[in-house]
Symmetry: C2
Subunit: 231 residues, 2 copies
């Protein structure tokens, strides 16, 4: 039994580079799965797998993520397609890579999954990666760093309610450079995209900060008028 074609066909897979922000450790994390089988048994890889019939690439990416990590709600965007022959020793495989942003708080420990080793790693010192996943990670990071500056995707990494300091720390972690507090607040509040929730942090050992949420609706409205988000 099998499927026969006149010409050879490469396999098509999707891979997801899932980013999460660890505010406590002030670190950007990536979600990886440890491979049980060869090739690259023991090394870590992005969640992903074969594209099935009758599903779009994005559906495929979401399905694999759900199956392998239980993650469902996320920001997902196509990154790049890698198809060098030799990138998979088992045969020509073209992989469509996606990158995803999730709220780490929604998907914390994960390690004790169904016998599968799934874990978050610092993007700055990841374990040894299978296939060409180190190259994919590098490209995903570059894309995230570029995109976070001109699209309000950073909010996808934060809890729904966040403080201005958390938002600033997010940008500092992703962009790997310090930002001036007063200028940051002036700029971000000036855009009018944050809704003051009239609610403050609880259980902090210092003055409690104001909580905000991102005004998605207003953002769409402003974009329609030609507004450009920029940090």
């Amino acid at each position: 039994m099998g499927y026969t074609y006149q010409y050879p066909r490469p396999s098509v897979t999707v891979d997801c580079v899932v980013f999460g922000l660890d505010l406590a450790a002030e670190d950007l994390k990536v979600l990886l799965i440890q491979r049980k089988k060869d090739p690259f048994a023991g090394l870590w890889a992005f969640p992903g797998g074969f594209v099935e019939e009758d599903e779009t690439l994005e559906e495929s990416a979401k399905r694999e993520l759900q199956e392998e990590t239980g993650i469902s709600r996320l920001y997902l965007e196509q990154l790049y397609t890698f198809g060098d022959p030799g990138r998979d020793p088992r045969g020509h495989t073209v992989t469509v890579a996606y990158y995803a942003l999730v709220k780490l708080s929604d998907h914390t420990p994960k390690a004790a999954d169904d016998a599968k080793a799934v874990d978050w790693f610092s993007v700055s010192k990841p374990p040894k990666l299978a296939f060409d996943h180190a190259k994919i990670l590098k490209m995903a990071l570059a894309r995230l760093r570029a995109k976070v500056r001109y699209q309000p995707i950073g909010f996808e990494l934060l809890p729904a309610k966040f403080t201005l300091s958390q938002l600033q720390r997010l940008y500092e972690i992703v962009l790997e450079r310090p930002l001036d507090k007063r200028n940051f607040r002036k700029k971000i509040l000036g855009m009018g995209l944050l809704i003051d929730l009239e609610e403050t942090q609880k259980d902090v050992a210092h003055r409690a900060a104001q909580l905000y949420r991102f005004d998605e609706e207003r953002y769409r409205g402003l974009v329609a008028e030609g507004f450009n988000f920029e940090i």
Copy 2:
């Protein structure tokens, strides 16, 4: 005869959206091929075809372009991968789309190719396109318009020697808005990326303009120092 696999596999193709700049007509053009066979016989499509074993996606794109249009030297960049089931009525086909920039002067008539209808069309009024190529064209245009502003790829569309007015017209055509002549010159010359060839236009019925060429080497040097090109 044939190739048999345990699971069904989508076909993998590449498609190239080739842009050329028609300075005489002040128009941005795209290179299309008329389909002889069904599906979509008679409609126009981007050059492209199946990815073969043992070639990278980019090699594949270049090979198809060479075979179908004779074009070889060009700027080529991956655009996006389209894989919706149903985008090809013959079966699930994933296509990795590239976009390319060529110097139109090097590839002018083309129409009288080996019985194949190949022609340049204005991007603003293309003919009816096969498959989901209208969607791909739209995305390629958006990418070009965005990228031309922060990467010096526009030069790929101009002859090696060009005048400042031609360069300005290029940006005006691609961005679809007028630019101020004095500000444009101030900015572009201020970057120090143009080499004055100490040579002027010939055979023009008005004051001959100075010719320049893009200083690729200096651009790479500046980028290494953290320079960002921007129009």
